[in-house]
Amino acid sequence: MLKEKHNYKGTLICVEGIDGSGKSTQLALLRDWLKSTGQDVIFTEWNSSELISQTTKLAKKKNMLSPRTFSLLHAVDFADRLKQVIDPALKAGFIVLADRYAYTAFARDVARGVDSNWVRKVYDFAIKPDLAIYFDINPKDSMERICANRAPKFYEAGMDLKLSNDPYESYMIFQGRVIKEYQKMVDEFGLVKLDAMDSIHSKQVAIREMLKEVLTAKGVNL
């Protein structure tokens, strides 16, 4: 399904990239602007479903998840939001803005050693976004941004993989793997790559331009 164009009235936009790549900032700017122009916008983010997100967060705190269970719990979260939020909003003609999408699972789970075909099949029910933007950053810049005042968290540093006892070093190795997976997906799924180190303004200009193009093709003028 991630390869087939959808036929919904609405438009699905997602942002991808590792932590600290600036994707949430860009999505927030886009959302505020779209709302100010009177568009019907809905926002949804990774691991936020009522059904499961608390369980996943709790299990992460206790460091008790195997890579496969980790993967399946995030799939539950995604499926719940897809069926309850994204799908109905697209049918009703909304612009749906997703902070992370199935590609996050493909990048992180595969970096954890889960088979890449397996996880792609698990997410077979996902809807192909009209626009998927990937914010490319190197692990070092990402770490400097998110770990300015705190150590990397257990799973975000991939500490479950026992790559290194030092969370900073582990973060560099693990996120390096995640980035490699993202880079593969640029061609595989047609993700649009932006340089995370560009200015906030120039990225926002680029995103709005791409969105306008998508909407124009659907007969919506901003």
Binding site: E50, L51, T69, A75, A79, K83, Q84, W118
Partner: protein, 224 residues
């Protein structure tokens, strides 16, 4: 001396599954089998469907609040299974236990497909699961099942497939749902080499059939 038995999964222990629909007598048989194996000084571990510490409560709670759609239903059970498999079942098999399972992923295949999921999609969710050494399937006609369940636990919303919308009448819905599950189990019998046992036989008779199969494997000396 029987020819050397080789486990199908490559671990040291044995993986034995009892499958069947609700009310087919699985738990009773599991308990009996556990006792007879224990009596011979083997290490036995039992694990039941939907009992992971992590996820079982979430499933129950979500069912209570009618929060599940067919996809989240499938994925939650798959997560429960993954958690139990990796934290309990595989470690036990590695250390040479006989693991007795009340239901295995065949249950998910039956229920999820009845809920409209693509069978290949569901198979993929469980494709990493080790192949059991023995799968007993308790075969029960739907009318006997209906009586058993109504006479014991009563009809449950999901076990009656009410979420699928076959019928708003509880009895009718249960009948349709269980029939469809039985069809799925029947389709799996040969593919997964079920040892099908007539579930209407007396409890002791069923037990001795199962025990004989287990003894045959044990007498090959696989766990010595």
């Amino acid at each position: 001396m029987t020819a050397q038995f080789k486990t199908k999964h490559g671990y040291e222990g044995l993986l034995i599954v009892i499958e069947g629909t609700d009310g087919s007598g699985k738990s009773t048989q599991l308990e009996l089998l556990k006792k007879s194996i224990q009596a011979q000084s083997y290490g036995v571990m039992v694990s039941e469907w939907k009992t992971s510490r992590l996820i079982a409560n979430v499933i129950d709670d979500a069912k209570d609040r009618n929060l599940l759609n067919a996809t989240t239903y499938s994925l939650l059970y798959a997560a429960d299974f993954a958690d139990r498999l990796e934290n309990q079942i595989i470690p036990a098999l590695k250390s040479g236990f006989i693991v007795l399972l009340d239901r295995y992923y065949y249950t998910a295949l039956a229920r999820d497909v009845v809920r409209g999921q693509d069978i290949e999609w569901v198979k993929n969710l469980y494709d990493y699961a080790p192949e059991p050494d023995l799968v007993f399937y308790l075969d029960m006609p739907v009318d006997v099942l209906l009586k058993r369940i109504i006479g014991t636990t009563g009809l449950d919303f999901y076990e009656s497939g009410r979420d699928v919308g076959f019928s708003t009448d509880f009895y009718k819905s249960f009948e349709i749902y269980q029939k469809k599950c039985l069809e799925q189990y029947n389709n799996m019998k040969s593919e997964y080499h079920f040892k099908s046992i007539d579930g209407t036989l007396p409890i002791n008779k069923i037990h001795s059939i199962m025990d004989e199969e287990v003894q045959e494997i044990l007498s090959s000396g696989v766990l010595k």
